[in-house]
């Protein structure tokens, strides 16, 4: 194929319609050879639709795709692979019980008389990993290696197939700060070696650091393509949301007063792993402060919150909320003074097939306000829902009677937040409240949490996003393997230091003395 074009992939004037909605409306994306090109947009802006078109999963109504200046038809993912387009999905597609090497060659195995020829494959993978600095243990099973190494395995998978165009779909969502830095370096190396990279993200810091150019989409429409060196984060987020966005959390100094949540030596036993998922956690949250539990996913945060809110049993220690011992209370007993914005909004937060209004009264349908001798007062439910929707600006197709499933992730989360904050409890537990949301929604949720704090609520936040931890909290507790290993002041601690605590490489004991960890 003659390479007389500046661009390796061009998607020109792509329009893709779904019944009732234009997911992509005349979008143009041009990827230069050897560049890192970021694709930025809110949830539902059309990023994934556009990538699915490039991958042959959808056929656009209008528009063409060119590879090296030549028009191509991509009818299915096999066509995309044949054109050397590869993708690292947000959730890795690896076989857990296979070794790294087996995973890399899976689907592209060399065989001789029906037998696998692993020797050559091993050599090729080894070369690739040396060349790009992708360190993996080829003989380790995927289930035993770190998330970062799993991602490197995914990248090697693409390289093994001689892919020239690499798509990274929100690759940093699952990584620690150190791993993110490594990934950025790897991406730069790949670009230097002539690979072209499409980088889907809504994290502005990373885009500014690693990308050469950015294409911004908003509500299915093309906004602009800009060079990262000619722009800044504020401008990008304004373009993405379509209005000026407050990136920094604005808040005054915390003025904590009385203790609301008082936990002593709490343990939660994990039946599957036959050990404590949460071990001897002692902590307090006071009125008027936001305390954040930081840590890498899977270090006991989920179990801790489940124990606290009653979704699992507490196997040791005591929990007091507002001075009342609720260690053994039922879920509704515990929630007497606590509202809970759950980690998994689809599993716990919402009954997806219920209407919005029914979801908004999920804990309160037994209140006399909403029922009379067991008969639901539909009028007051409707009225209440309408008030909340207005007050918290929850947007949906049909207002109170919208089925929750059909709402966007951001608005689902807003609905949960509306419900929980309106219950007006002394303690607000928010678990990853901004996960998967775009800057507009994040801005809103952060301001709501700060408002709760200023109103004298105690806020307990669990977050995996370091940036959120640093900017929102008044006090940081780092959880590692079910224990609180450090307490930090967000104004004094650096992201790097937090990262070390989170990875278990460093820990404080009671006297703030640092000892060598795992």
């Amino acid at each position: 194929m003659a390479n007389n074009s500046e661009y390796v992939i061009e998607m020109l004037h792509i329009t893709k319609e779904f019944p009732g909605i234009k997911a992509n409306d005349d979008i143009t994306l041009q990827l230069k050879k050897g560049e890192i090109h970021a694709l930025l947009g809110e949830n539902g802006a059309g990023k994934s639709t556009l990538m699915s078109v490039l991958f042959g999963l959808y056929q656009p109504e209008q528009g063409i795709i060119k590879k090296d200046g030549v028009e191509v038809k991509i009818n299915n993912p096999n066509d995309a692979t044949a054109l050397h387009i590869g993708m690292v999905h947000q959730h890795f597609k690896l076989v857990d019980v296979f070794t790294v090497l087996d995973n890399i060659i899976l689907g592209a195995e060399d065989t001789k008389f029906g037998f696998l020829q692993k020797k050559e494959a091993r050599k090729k993978v080894k070369d690739l990993s040396d060349r790009y600095g992708l360190h993996v243990d080829l003989d380790a099973k995927v289930e035993d290696i770190t998330v970062g190494m799993q991602q490197r395995t995914e990248i090697l998978k693409m390289l093994y197939r001689d892919n020239e165009i690499l798509i990274f779909d929100e690759p940093t969502a699952v990584l620690t700060p150190q791993e993110i830095e490594e990934l950025m370096q790897i991406m730069k190396n790949l670009a230097k070696e002539g690979k072209s990279i499409l980088f889907i993200s809504h994290k502005l810091n990373e885009i500014m650091e690693v990308a050469d150019r950015v294409t911004v989409l908003r509500r299915g429409k093309y906004v602009a393509t800009v060079n990262t060196k000619d722009t800044n984060k504020q401008e990008l987020s304004n373009m993405m949301v379509g209005r000026p966005v407050q990136l920094q959390v604005v808040k005054d100094e915390a003025k904590p007063t009385d203790v609301v949540l008082d936990i002593k030596d709490m343990c939660v036993y994990n039946e599957v792993h036959k050990k404590d998922a949460v071990h001897n956690v002692t902590m307090q949250v006071r009125k008027g402060e936001i305390v954040c539990i930081a840590g890498i996913d899977g270090n006991g945060q989920t179990e801790f919150i489940h124990g606290l809110t009653g979704l699992s049993k507490i196997t040791g220690g005591t929990v007091k909320i507002c001075g009342k011992d609720v260690t053994k209370a039922s879920i509704s007993g515990k929630s007497e003074n606590m509202s809970h914005i759950p980690e998994d909004r689809h599993k716990h937060g919402l009954v997806l097939d219920f209407t919005l209004e029914n979801n908004l009264v999920l804990q309160r349908f037994q209140d006399p306000q909403f029922q009379n001798h067991g008969f639901i007062k539909f009028d007051s439910v409707r009225k209440y829902a309408e008030d909340l929707i207005e007050q918290f600006d929850v947007r949906s197709g049909q207002g109170p009677i919208t089925i929750a499933r059909s709402m966007s992730g951001g608005n689902q989360q807003k609905a949960i937040i509306a419900r929980e904050l309106d219950r007006n409890k002394a303690l607000v537990v928010a678990v990853q409240p901004t996960r998967g949301l775009d800057v507009g929604a994040i801005e809103y949720i952060h301001s709501q949490l700060v408002k709760q704090r200023d109103e004298g609520k105690a806020v307990l936040l669990v977050s995996l996003e370091l940036e959120e931890v640093m900017s929102l909290s008044d006090r940081i507790l780092v959880m590692y393997e079910g224990e609180i290993v450090a307490e930090c002041d967000p104004k004094k601690v650096t992201a790097q230091e937090l990262g070390l605590y989170m990875a278990g490489a460093k820990r404080q004991d009671n006297k703030d003395k640092e000892v060598a960890g795992a």
């Binding site: 019944p19 509704s332 759950p342 919402l350 009954v351 997806l352 029914n358 639901i376």
Partner: protein
């Protein structure tokens, strides 16, 4: 309020339309089968095939043949009455399955619960001598007792699911067979007064032997020559009660929340385990009520020795519920419709050379299509959305 009503109406219309479409497809398919079978059989021919097709659609309104041999049509009181009578138990088993479905449970245990209702209703109706108390009281005791027995039988799989997370389908199938053998064993050893037939005793049970029978409530006048009785009214009342419970009360709200997302319900402080057991108990009592209404009618005869198998009425609840898209009111119509097909089958074999089992083919197609009624509903939804955007 008017907005909410409109919403229910809209949702309701969609359900009704999609169910009607699947019924229509089933009937049309059945007509085609009837036609093909007719054409391939010398004894039937074109004329017979055409008669068959008409009977498939309007069999209940057929009044036989005129002197010239042509089919005559009109109000067939006995057919319509029998249709209502046969619909009664299947409406209730359908209701049983539908209520469980709404709460996220698949109650395939309706046959077992039905059998427990059979056992209890017959045992009570035959063991209390009608000289001891008024027969209407015996009837009520038998009916309530059957519902209680069904509730207990339904609660067993519910408890297994709630406490040990055992799939309710497996537990239901187990309890079905336990019920079948329990009933056989029980009647084998019973000493109730029973019908003597062919010199055998202890063989056939009939509640009218003890003067217990469901009141006719004048339905025998309207539908002369049929078995119709007040049972159908009880069934309809129960369906309305279930509709109100599911849609208007906090209990229904809780049950649906647990069924739709057990985790979210638990998160909100709703007692999910209690609700699972309760839901199965309600389902069980409904299936048993259907059985009680059937056997307490007074003109039905129970042959215990054949009851080592599971009653089809229990299983027929599943297609009825599917066809009604689990709407309690829809179940009434779906149940009557299934009973109508049953009557049509008899008409076919009485009046033409067709075999009555042909209607089973039609029922099968409709059951199959009822699974598609969800698809049809989705199509209707998609269409409306598209129109809305234009």
């Amino acid at each position: 309020m008017s907005g909410l009503k409109k919403f229910f109406a809209k949702d309701g219309t969609k359900s009704v339309v999609s169910s009607l479409i699947s019924i229509l497809i089933g009937l049309v398919f059945g007509a085609i089968v009837v036609f093909i079978v007719g054409m391939s059989k010398k004894t039937i021919g074109v004329k017979g095939a055409w008669e068959g097709v008409r009977l498939i659609f309007f069999g209940v309104l057929n009044t036989g043949r005129s002197a010239t041999g042509a089919l005559t049509w009109g109000f067939n009181a006995s057919n319509l009455g029998n249709m209502l009578f046969r619909a009664t138990p299947v409406i209730l088993t359908g209701l049983s399955v539908a209520v469980a479905f709404k709460t996220g449970l698949f109650n395939i245990g309706a046959p077992g619960q039905y059998l427990m209702g059979t056992l209890t209703s017959l045992a009570i109706a035959l063991s209390i001598p009608s000289s001891a108390m008024p027969t209407w009281l015996i009837w009520i005791l038998a009916f309530v007792g059957a519902m209680a027995a069904g509730a207990i039988w339904g609660a067993i799989p519910g408890l297994m699911k709630a406490l040990f997370n055992i799939n309710e389908v497996i537990a239901c199938i187990m309890t079905n067979w336990i019920a079948a053998n329990l009933v056989t064993w029980f009647f084998d050893g019973s000493v109730f007064c029973n019908v003597e037939e062919y010199g055998k005793t202890g063989y056939i049970y009939k509640t009218s032997y003890n003067n217990v029978a469901t009141t006719k409530l004048g339905l025998d006048k309207i539908f002369a020559g049929s078995q119709a009785n007040a049972g159908i009214i009880v069934a309809i009342l129960l369906a309305v009660a279930m509709y109100i419970m599911m849609n208007k009360t906090t209990l229904g709200y809780q049950l649906k929340a647990c069924g739709s997302n057990r985790h979210a319900a638990r998160y909100a402080g709703i007692k999910d385990k209690r609700n699972i057991v309760l839901s199965m108990a309600i389902a069980g009592s409904l299936a048993a009520a259907g059985s009680a209404l059937y056997w307490l009618a007074g003109n039905t005869e129970f042959f215990w020795s054949t009851y080592q198998s599971l009653p089809a009425t229990g299983f027929n609840g599943i297609p009825v519920a599917l066809l009604a898209l689990n709407n309690p009111i829809g179940v009434v119509f779906a149940g009557i419709f299934m009973a109508m097909l049953n009557i049509v089958g008899m008409q076919l074999s009485n009046l033409t050379a067709y075999n009555e089992y042909l209607t089973d083919v039609i029922i099968a197609v409709i059951v199959y299509m009822s699974a598609f009624s969800l698809v049809i509903r989705m199509l209707l939804n998609g269409r409306r959305r598209k129109e809305g955007k234009k």
